[in-house]
Subunit: 212 residues, 4 copies
C-alpha cells in the first residue's frame, strides 16, 4: 500500500486497462462482426469479468466506438509520420509510403479496422463518417500531394489527382480486408511481397508521363 513500485504498477495497470479491453475487442469484432461478438468473450479474452467492461465503457456500442477510435489513432499517427518523410522524387516517395504503410497497418492488429468499418458502416454511420474524414481523407491528401509533386515535376502524366486517388488506394485496402476475411478461411492470395512489388510497378507505370 505504501510501496511506490506496487502503486506504480497498479496505476500503470489501471491506465492500461482500457487498451487491453479494446485490443481484445478489436480481435473479436474483426473476427465475428459487431453483433455476433459477445461481451462475455471480450471480457474473457482480456482476462477480466463481464462487469468490469462497464467500468470503462457505457455500452457495447461505446466499446465499439472506442475500439475504432483507438484503432484509428495509429492510422492517423502513421499518416502524420509519412507526411514528414516527403522529400525525394514522387515515385520514390510513393514507394516509400506504400511499403511503410504496409509495415505499420498491413501487419498487426489495426489492419482489422478497415474490414470492421466496411462491414459495420451502415450500422454505425457516425463512425463511418469519422473514419472517412479522419483517415481516408488524410490518406487521400497524402497521396494527392505526392501526385501533385510528380505531375509538377513532369514525372507523372497530367491527371486529376482527386479522380485517381481512390483508385490507387483501393488495392491496398482490398488486400488488408482480404487478410482478415478470406485469408482466414484458407482462401489464399498472392504472397504479399509480390503483391506490393507488382502493385508499385503497375501503378507507377500507370501514372508516369508518356515522355518518360
Amino acid at each position: 500500500m505504501h510501496c511506490p513500485v506496487k502503486e506504480l504498477r497498479w496505476r500503470r495497470r489501471k491506465d492500461a486497462r482500457p487498451s487491453e479491453l479494446t485490443a481484445a475487442a478489436l480481435d473479436l469484432f474483426v473476427e465475428k462482426g459487431f453483433a455476433a461478438t459477445k461481451l462475455e468473450e471480450v471480457a474473457a479474452r482480456a482476462g477480466v469479468s463481464k462487469g468490469t467492461l462497464y467500468l470503462y465503457f457505457d455500452s457495447k456500442e461505446e466499446l465499439f466506438k472506442a475500439v475504432v477510435r483507438e484503432g484509428l489513432l495509429p492510422l492517423l499517427a502513421e499518416g502524420e509520420a509519412l507526411v514528414d518523410s516527403m522529400p525525394g522524387s514522387a515515385s520514390e516517395l510513393f514507394r516509400a509510403i506504400v511499403l511503410r504503410w504496409w509495415e505499420m497497418v498491413g501487419e498487426g492488429p489495426i489492419g482489422g479496422i478497415p474490414k470492421l468499418i466496411f462491414s459495420e458502416a451502415r450500422n454505425f454511420p457516425e463512425i463511418a463518417r469519422f473514419y472517412a474524414d479522419e483517415v481516408i481523407e488524410r490518406g487521400k491528401r497524402l497521396f494527392v500531394a505526392v501526385f501533385r509533386r510528380g505531375i509538377d515535376s513532369g514525372e507523372f502524366r497530367p491527371f486529376d489527382p482527386q479522380a485517381l486517388v481512390h483508385l490507387v488506394i483501393s488495392p491496398l485496402i482490398m488486400r488488408v480486408i482480404w487478410k482478415h476475411s478470406l485469408d482466414c478461411c484458407g482462401v489464399t492470395n498472392v504472397p504479399v511481397d509480390i503483391y506490393l512489388k507488382e502493385y508499385l510497378e503497375l501503378t507507377l507505370r500507370g501514372l508516369r508521363s508518356d515522355a518518360q
Copy 2:
C-alpha cells in the same frame, strides 16, 4: 373441377417464394450483417409471416447460404457470358468486360454479395470457400485469359498473369463494397463513370508494353 389457371397461380407462387425471400434477405444481410438481421424483418419485407420462412429454409444459416448461393448464380452466369464475348484486341476486351461487369453486378442487388462475403467469411467458411472457388477463381481465369492474349500479341508487357490478376480486380471489388457500405453513410466516392474511365486508363497504361 379445378381451374388450371388458378392452380397454376398458386403453384407459381410457391415456386416464386424462395426467391422473394432470399431477395428480401439479401438486402437486409447486406445492410446489417448476418447476426443483426432479424428474421421477422426479412419476413416483413417479403410480405409474409415469420413462420413462412421456415417452410422454405430450415434455419437462419440455411437462409443465409441460400441467399449467397442464389446471389452467386447471376455472377456465374455473367462470367460465362463474358467469356463468350471474347474476340477483339486485349485492351478492347478488357474494357468491354469491365464495363459489362459493372452494368451487371455493380448496379443491382447482387452487388451486395461481395460485401456480404468479406464481412461474414469467418463466420461461414464453407460459403467463403465456395465463393472463392466458384466466383473468384472463375473471374480470375477470365482476366488471366485476357492478359495472356495481350502478352502473346505484344500488346501487354510480359508479366505473370497470376501475380497481377488479384491486383487488377481489386479496384472493382473495392468499388462495389464501397457502394454498399460507406456510400450509404453519405461518404461519397468519385462518380462511377469517371472511376471506371480512370480505372481503365490507369490499368491499361500499367499493363501495356513499353514498346507501344
Copy 3:
C-alpha cells in the same frame, strides 16, 4: 363416380377415417405424451394431411379425448364379456379373467391407454374421472364379485373386497404401464407368462382361506 363398388369403398373409407386417425394418434401419444406429440406426425402416420385431422377433430385436445374414449370402448366391452363368463369356482374364475384380460388388453395397442391416463391425468382431469368411473370402477366391480363368491363359498378367507381390489389389480396395471415405458428402453421385466403365473399363485395364496 357411378360405380357402386368405388362408392362403397369410399364410404367405408370415410367411416373408417376417424379410427385410423385415433389409432395413429394413440401410438404417438403413448410414445411421447400429449404435449410432445405433433399433429403433423399423427397425420403423416395416418397417411393424411395435417388439415384433414381438423375435418374430424376440432382440436388436439378433442383428438386426445377421442383417442382415449375410443381406446376405452374395447376395455369396457372386454369387461362386459368377462362378466358373462362368470360361472365356476372363484379361483378358476379369477384365473380366467386375468388371463383373458391380458390377452385382450396386455397385448395390442389399447394397452397403451392406462399409461396415457396416468401420465396425463392431471392435464385432463375429466378424462381421468371418466376413466375412473367407467373402467376402473367396472373392473373393480368385476373383481369384487369374484371375491364375494369366493368368500361366500369359503374358498377365500373373509376380507373386505373393497379394501383389496385396488391392491390385487395393481400388478396387472403396473405390468402394462411397464410394457409401454421402460420396456421400450431395453429395461426388461420377467417374461409375461411367468409374471402372470406367479401373480396368480401369489394372489390366490394371499386370498384363500386358512382352512384350505
Copy 4:
C-alpha cells in the same frame, strides 16, 4: 475488508440455488409432464427469472436430468439405510422395509419421480436406464435378500426370488404413481394405512410356506 458472514450468505445462496430450482422443476414436471412444463413457470415457482435457470442448467433437458438425478439420490440413500436395518425375521423385515419406504418416499416430493420416469422414459431412455440400474435394480436386490432369508429359514415357501420381486413391488409403485396422477383428479383410492396393511397381509400370506 469484507464481512465473512455476508459473503457466506451469498455463497450459500449460490450453492443452494440448483436444489431450489430442481425442487421447483420436480413439482411441475410431475404435474404436467416434461413437454408441457414451461421454464418460465419453473423459474417463477423458484422465485427467480427465466434467465437464471440458464446459469445453472444448459437446457431444459439438462434440467430434467438434474431433477431426476437429484431426486434419485434420496431414493438411493434410503435403499442403503434399509439394507443396514436388516436383522429380524423375514416377515418382520419385509414389513419394516415397506413401512419405512412409504414414510420416506410415498410422502414427500420424491414420490413424484417414479411417475416421471414411467411417463417420460421413452423420451429420455438414458435416464430410464439409469433409473433402472440405480434404483430398481438396487430395490430388487433388497427384496431378493429378504426373500432369500425367508426361504432359507423355512418361513417362506420355496420360490424364485427373481421371478417374484417385480410382482411384489408393483403395488407399492402403483400406489405412488396413483398418488401423483388420479389422486389429484379426485379419484380416490383406499386410505393408505389400510392399503399398506392389506398389502402386507396379502403378500406375506402369498409368500409364506404352507407348513406354517
